[in-house]
Subunit: 164 residues, 2 copies
Protein backbone atom coordinates (compact mmCIF):
# COMPACT_ATOMS: atom_id res chain seq x y z
CA UNK A 1 0.00 0.00 0.00
CA UNK A 2 1.37 3.40 -0.94
CA UNK A 3 0.48 6.46 1.12
CA UNK A 4 -2.10 7.40 -1.51
CA UNK A 5 -4.00 4.15 -1.22
CA UNK A 6 -7.35 4.56 0.50
CA UNK A 7 -8.40 0.95 0.80
CA UNK A 8 -8.70 -2.35 -0.97
CA UNK A 9 -11.88 -2.49 -2.96
CA UNK A 10 -13.94 -5.67 -2.63
CA UNK A 11 -16.02 -7.31 -5.31
CA UNK A 12 -19.62 -7.80 -4.19
CA UNK A 13 -20.76 -9.45 -7.42
CA UNK A 14 -20.40 -9.60 -11.19
CA UNK A 15 -22.35 -8.10 -14.08
CA UNK A 16 -23.76 -10.60 -16.57
CA UNK A 17 -24.87 -9.19 -19.92
CA UNK A 18 -25.94 -10.66 -23.20
CA UNK A 19 -27.20 -7.98 -25.57
CA UNK A 20 -28.51 -10.48 -28.11
CA UNK A 21 -30.65 -12.14 -25.48
CA UNK A 22 -31.48 -8.86 -23.72
CA UNK A 23 -29.96 -10.04 -20.44
CA UNK A 24 -28.67 -7.34 -18.06
CA UNK A 25 -28.17 -9.07 -14.74
CA UNK A 26 -26.28 -8.49 -11.51
CA UNK A 27 -25.04 -11.66 -9.80
CA UNK A 28 -24.30 -10.92 -6.17
CA UNK A 29 -21.72 -13.00 -4.31
CA UNK A 30 -23.27 -15.25 -1.64
CA UNK A 31 -21.90 -13.41 1.40
CA UNK A 32 -23.38 -10.05 0.30
CA UNK A 33 -26.89 -11.24 -0.61
CA UNK A 34 -28.50 -10.08 2.68
CA UNK A 35 -27.65 -6.50 1.57
CA UNK A 36 -30.32 -6.87 -1.17
CA UNK A 37 -33.15 -6.81 1.41
CA UNK A 38 -35.67 -4.15 0.36
CA UNK A 39 -34.12 -3.40 -3.03
CA UNK A 40 -37.17 -4.85 -4.80
CA UNK A 41 -39.16 -1.90 -3.38
CA UNK A 42 -37.05 0.53 -5.42
CA UNK A 43 -37.72 1.35 -9.07
CA UNK A 44 -34.14 2.30 -9.98
CA UNK A 45 -30.69 1.43 -8.67
CA UNK A 46 -27.32 3.08 -9.10
CA UNK A 47 -24.93 0.29 -9.96
CA UNK A 48 -21.26 0.92 -9.24
CA UNK A 49 -18.94 -1.23 -11.33
CA UNK A 50 -15.21 -1.31 -11.92
CA UNK A 51 -13.94 -0.84 -15.49
CA UNK A 52 -11.17 -3.39 -15.09
CA UNK A 53 -10.51 -3.67 -18.82
CA UNK A 54 -9.26 -0.10 -19.18
CA UNK A 55 -5.53 0.01 -19.88
CA UNK A 56 -3.69 1.58 -16.90
CA UNK A 57 -1.50 3.69 -19.21
CA UNK A 58 -4.63 5.15 -20.85
CA UNK A 59 -6.05 5.91 -17.39
CA UNK A 60 -2.86 7.81 -16.54
CA UNK A 61 -3.46 10.34 -19.34
CA UNK A 62 -6.08 12.28 -17.30
CA UNK A 63 -7.20 14.50 -20.24
CA UNK A 64 -9.04 13.11 -23.27
CA UNK A 65 -10.38 14.00 -26.72
CA UNK A 66 -14.15 13.67 -26.51
CA UNK A 67 -15.44 11.48 -29.38
CA UNK A 68 -18.91 13.11 -29.25
CA UNK A 69 -17.57 16.69 -29.19
CA UNK A 70 -14.96 17.18 -31.94
CA UNK A 71 -12.11 19.46 -30.89
CA UNK A 72 -12.97 19.39 -27.20
CA UNK A 73 -10.56 17.97 -24.64
CA UNK A 74 -11.75 17.41 -21.10
CA UNK A 75 -10.26 16.02 -17.92
CA UNK A 76 -11.36 12.71 -16.46
CA UNK A 77 -13.32 14.61 -13.76
CA UNK A 78 -15.28 16.55 -16.42
CA UNK A 79 -16.33 13.57 -18.54
CA UNK A 80 -17.64 10.07 -18.04
CA UNK A 81 -14.77 8.22 -19.69
CA UNK A 82 -14.05 4.82 -18.16
CA UNK A 83 -10.40 5.87 -18.15
CA UNK A 84 -9.96 7.69 -14.83
CA UNK A 85 -7.64 7.48 -11.82
CA UNK A 86 -10.06 5.02 -10.16
CA UNK A 87 -12.10 3.47 -12.99
CA UNK A 88 -15.36 3.54 -11.03
CA UNK A 89 -18.41 3.65 -13.31
CA UNK A 90 -21.94 4.30 -12.14
CA UNK A 91 -25.06 3.42 -14.12
CA UNK A 92 -28.59 4.20 -13.02
CA UNK A 93 -30.80 1.35 -14.17
CA UNK A 94 -34.45 0.31 -14.01
CA UNK A 95 -34.97 -2.73 -11.78
CA UNK A 96 -37.01 -5.54 -13.35
CA UNK A 97 -36.73 -7.93 -10.43
CA UNK A 98 -34.70 -8.97 -7.38
CA UNK A 99 -34.12 -12.51 -6.11
CA UNK A 100 -32.45 -12.13 -2.72
CA UNK A 101 -31.91 -15.84 -2.13
CA UNK A 102 -30.27 -16.40 -5.52
CA UNK A 103 -28.45 -13.07 -5.47
CA UNK A 104 -29.88 -11.95 -8.80
CA UNK A 105 -30.96 -8.44 -9.85
CA UNK A 106 -32.43 -8.14 -13.33
CA UNK A 107 -32.18 -4.73 -14.99
CA UNK A 108 -33.75 -3.23 -18.11
CA UNK A 109 -30.27 -2.21 -19.29
CA UNK A 110 -26.73 -1.49 -18.14
CA UNK A 111 -23.68 -0.33 -20.07
CA UNK A 112 -21.22 -2.44 -18.05
CA UNK A 113 -19.28 -5.21 -19.78
CA UNK A 114 -20.13 -8.86 -19.27
CA UNK A 115 -17.99 -9.87 -16.29
CA UNK A 116 -17.42 -6.39 -14.83
CA UNK A 117 -16.93 -6.51 -11.04
CA UNK A 118 -19.74 -4.86 -9.05
CA UNK A 119 -18.47 -2.76 -6.14
CA UNK A 120 -21.71 -1.22 -4.79
CA UNK A 121 -25.45 -0.80 -5.40
CA UNK A 122 -27.52 2.11 -4.07
CA UNK A 123 -31.22 2.95 -4.46
CA UNK A 124 -31.87 5.99 -6.68
CA UNK A 125 -33.37 8.62 -4.38
CA UNK A 126 -34.96 11.67 -6.06
CA UNK A 127 -34.09 13.92 -3.11
CA UNK A 128 -30.37 13.43 -3.65
CA UNK A 129 -30.04 12.18 -7.23
CA UNK A 130 -32.67 13.99 -9.34
CA UNK A 131 -31.35 17.48 -10.01
CA UNK A 132 -33.86 19.56 -11.97
CA UNK A 133 -31.59 22.59 -12.41
CA UNK A 134 -28.47 20.75 -13.63
CA UNK A 135 -27.26 21.87 -17.04
CA UNK A 136 -24.82 20.39 -19.50
CA UNK A 137 -21.38 21.80 -20.21
CA UNK A 138 -21.19 23.77 -23.47
CA UNK A 139 -20.00 20.78 -25.52
CA UNK A 140 -23.07 18.68 -24.66
CA UNK A 141 -25.79 21.29 -25.31
CA UNK A 142 -28.78 19.66 -26.97
CA UNK A 143 -28.25 16.26 -25.41
CA UNK A 144 -31.25 14.46 -23.84
CA UNK A 145 -32.71 16.09 -20.72
CA UNK A 146 -33.33 12.86 -18.80
CA UNK A 147 -32.67 9.12 -18.83
CA UNK A 148 -36.11 8.60 -20.37
CA UNK A 149 -35.35 10.99 -23.26
CA UNK A 150 -31.97 9.34 -23.70
CA UNK A 151 -33.63 5.97 -24.32
CA UNK A 152 -35.37 7.44 -27.38
CA UNK A 153 -32.30 9.40 -28.49
CA UNK A 154 -29.97 6.41 -28.46
CA UNK A 155 -32.50 4.22 -30.26
CA UNK A 156 -31.19 6.15 -33.32
CA UNK A 157 -28.13 4.09 -34.42
CA UNK A 158 -26.34 7.17 -35.79
CA UNK A 159 -26.57 8.98 -32.46
CA UNK A 160 -25.66 5.86 -30.50
CA UNK A 161 -22.54 5.44 -32.66
CA UNK A 162 -21.15 8.76 -31.41
CA UNK A 163 -20.59 7.16 -28.03
CA UNK A 164 -18.91 3.97 -29.20
CA UNK B 1 -4.95 -9.28 -1.80
CA UNK B 2 -7.70 -11.84 -1.38
CA UNK B 3 -9.42 -13.35 -4.39
CA UNK B 4 -12.33 -10.96 -3.83
CA UNK B 5 -10.21 -7.84 -4.05
CA UNK B 6 -10.86 -5.86 -7.21
CA UNK B 7 -8.14 -3.25 -6.91
CA UNK B 8 -6.44 -0.79 -4.61
CA UNK B 9 -8.38 2.42 -4.46
CA UNK B 10 -6.35 5.62 -4.80
CA UNK B 11 -7.02 8.92 -3.10
CA UNK B 12 -7.30 11.76 -5.65
CA UNK B 13 -7.92 14.47 -3.05
CA UNK B 14 -9.49 15.34 0.28
CA UNK B 15 -12.76 16.98 1.29
CA UNK B 16 -12.43 20.12 3.39
CA UNK B 17 -15.56 21.28 5.20
CA UNK B 18 -16.33 23.85 7.84
CA UNK B 19 -20.06 24.18 8.39
CA UNK B 20 -19.72 27.26 10.61
CA UNK B 21 -17.84 29.08 7.87
CA UNK B 22 -19.90 27.54 5.06
CA UNK B 23 -16.84 25.97 3.43
CA UNK B 24 -17.44 22.87 1.30
CA UNK B 25 -14.27 22.38 -0.71
CA UNK B 26 -12.54 19.61 -2.63
CA UNK B 27 -8.73 19.75 -2.49
CA UNK B 28 -7.32 17.72 -5.36
CA UNK B 29 -3.86 16.17 -5.04
CA UNK B 30 -1.30 17.78 -7.35
CA UNK B 31 -0.83 14.84 -9.72
CA UNK B 32 -4.59 14.64 -10.51
CA UNK B 33 -5.26 18.35 -11.11
CA UNK B 34 -5.14 18.09 -14.93
CA UNK B 35 -8.27 15.90 -14.64
CA UNK B 36 -10.22 19.02 -13.57
CA UNK B 37 -9.97 20.53 -17.09
CA UNK B 38 -13.47 21.51 -18.21
CA UNK B 39 -15.21 20.86 -14.88
CA UNK B 40 -15.91 24.60 -14.48
CA UNK B 41 -18.28 24.25 -17.47
CA UNK B 42 -20.52 21.90 -15.47
CA UNK B 43 -23.17 23.10 -13.02
CA UNK B 44 -23.16 19.99 -10.82
CA UNK B 45 -20.67 17.26 -9.98
CA UNK B 46 -21.07 13.82 -8.49
CA UNK B 47 -18.42 13.56 -5.80
CA UNK B 48 -17.33 10.07 -4.80
CA UNK B 49 -15.82 9.91 -1.34
CA UNK B 50 -14.77 7.12 0.96
CA UNK B 51 -16.46 6.89 4.39
CA UNK B 52 -13.25 5.84 6.13
CA UNK B 53 -14.61 6.53 9.62
CA UNK B 54 -17.25 3.80 9.47
CA UNK B 55 -16.41 0.95 11.82
CA UNK B 56 -15.60 -2.23 9.81
CA UNK B 57 -17.69 -4.40 12.15
CA UNK B 58 -20.72 -2.13 11.57
CA UNK B 59 -20.16 -2.40 7.81
CA UNK B 60 -20.20 -6.18 8.10
CA UNK B 61 -23.79 -6.17 9.38
CA UNK B 62 -25.27 -5.65 5.88
CA UNK B 63 -28.86 -5.04 7.11
CA UNK B 64 -29.82 -1.95 9.13
CA UNK B 65 -32.67 -0.33 11.07
CA UNK B 66 -33.58 2.85 9.17
CA UNK B 67 -33.65 5.83 11.56
CA UNK B 68 -36.08 7.75 9.29
CA UNK B 69 -38.48 4.81 8.85
CA UNK B 70 -39.33 3.23 12.22
CA UNK B 71 -39.69 -0.52 12.09
CA UNK B 72 -38.13 -0.88 8.65
CA UNK B 73 -34.95 -2.83 8.10
CA UNK B 74 -33.16 -2.62 4.77
CA UNK B 75 -30.00 -4.02 3.25
CA UNK B 76 -26.99 -1.85 2.50
CA UNK B 77 -27.88 -2.04 -1.22
CA UNK B 78 -31.40 -0.68 -0.54
CA UNK B 79 -30.37 2.33 1.57
CA UNK B 80 -27.75 5.04 1.53
CA UNK B 81 -26.08 4.14 4.82
CA UNK B 82 -22.35 4.85 4.90
CA UNK B 83 -21.96 1.37 6.35
CA UNK B 84 -21.68 -0.87 3.29
CA UNK B 85 -19.28 -3.52 1.98
CA UNK B 86 -17.30 -0.80 0.17
CA UNK B 87 -18.11 2.48 1.96
CA UNK B 88 -18.31 4.50 -1.25
CA UNK B 89 -20.55 7.55 -0.87
CA UNK B 90 -21.70 9.74 -3.73
CA UNK B 91 -23.01 13.27 -3.33
CA UNK B 92 -24.29 15.41 -6.17
CA UNK B 93 -23.28 18.99 -5.48
CA UNK B 94 -23.61 22.43 -7.06
CA UNK B 95 -20.25 23.76 -8.27
CA UNK B 96 -19.43 27.31 -7.14
CA UNK B 97 -15.98 27.45 -8.73
CA UNK B 98 -13.00 25.45 -9.95
CA UNK B 99 -9.32 26.44 -9.71
CA UNK B 100 -7.43 23.90 -11.78
CA UNK B 101 -3.95 25.20 -10.94
CA UNK B 102 -4.58 25.15 -7.19
CA UNK B 103 -6.64 21.95 -7.32
CA UNK B 104 -9.65 23.52 -5.59
CA UNK B 105 -13.35 22.88 -6.27
CA UNK B 106 -15.78 24.94 -4.19
CA UNK B 107 -19.24 23.47 -3.69
CA UNK B 108 -22.49 24.85 -2.32
CA UNK B 109 -22.71 21.87 0.05
CA UNK B 110 -21.54 18.31 0.58
CA UNK B 111 -22.38 15.81 3.33
CA UNK B 112 -18.87 14.33 3.46
CA UNK B 113 -16.80 14.69 6.62
CA UNK B 114 -13.91 17.09 6.85
CA UNK B 115 -10.92 15.02 5.73
CA UNK B 116 -12.83 12.35 3.78
CA UNK B 117 -10.73 10.92 0.92
CA UNK B 118 -12.07 11.76 -2.56
CA UNK B 119 -11.92 8.81 -4.95
CA UNK B 120 -13.62 10.25 -8.08
CA UNK B 121 -15.51 13.22 -9.50
CA UNK B 122 -17.92 13.01 -12.45
CA UNK B 123 -20.03 15.66 -14.16
CA UNK B 124 -23.77 15.29 -13.52
CA UNK B 125 -25.32 14.48 -16.90
CA UNK B 126 -29.12 14.69 -17.17
CA UNK B 127 -29.22 11.98 -19.85
CA UNK B 128 -27.84 9.39 -17.46
CA UNK B 129 -28.42 10.80 -13.97
CA UNK B 130 -31.79 12.61 -14.04
CA UNK B 131 -34.51 9.95 -13.87
CA UNK B 132 -37.98 11.49 -14.06
CA UNK B 133 -39.88 8.23 -13.48
CA UNK B 134 -37.92 7.00 -10.44
CA UNK B 135 -40.07 6.44 -7.36
CA UNK B 136 -39.24 5.94 -3.72
CA UNK B 137 -39.55 2.65 -1.90
CA UNK B 138 -42.65 2.43 0.31
CA UNK B 139 -40.82 3.60 3.45
CA UNK B 140 -39.77 6.91 1.88
CA UNK B 141 -43.11 7.95 0.33
CA UNK B 142 -43.60 11.69 0.72
CA UNK B 143 -39.92 12.57 0.70
CA UNK B 144 -38.71 15.43 -1.52
CA UNK B 145 -39.01 14.87 -5.27
CA UNK B 146 -35.69 16.48 -6.23
CA UNK B 147 -32.46 17.86 -4.78
CA UNK B 148 -33.95 21.36 -5.02
CA UNK B 149 -37.02 20.35 -2.97
CA UNK B 150 -34.75 18.60 -0.49
CA UNK B 151 -32.90 21.86 0.22
CA UNK B 152 -36.17 23.39 1.47
CA UNK B 153 -37.26 20.22 3.28
CA UNK B 154 -34.04 19.86 5.26
CA UNK B 155 -34.01 23.55 6.19
CA UNK B 156 -36.60 22.38 8.77
CA UNK B 157 -34.46 21.28 11.77
CA UNK B 158 -37.00 18.66 12.85
CA UNK B 159 -36.91 16.95 9.44
CA UNK B 160 -33.14 17.25 9.19
CA UNK B 161 -32.79 15.57 12.61
CA UNK B 162 -34.39 12.37 11.26
CA UNK B 163 -31.26 11.76 9.20
CA UNK B 164 -28.68 12.38 11.93
Amino acid sequence: MTCETVAELKRVGTVQTNETQGVYRLRIDRQYRPALQGLSGCTHAMVFWWADRVDPSYRAELVFDLPYAPGVRAGAFACRSEARPNPICVTTAYILGVDEAEGVVDLAWIDAFDGSPIIDIKPYLPMSDRVLSAEYPEWLKGFPASMEEAAEFFADPEKAAMFE
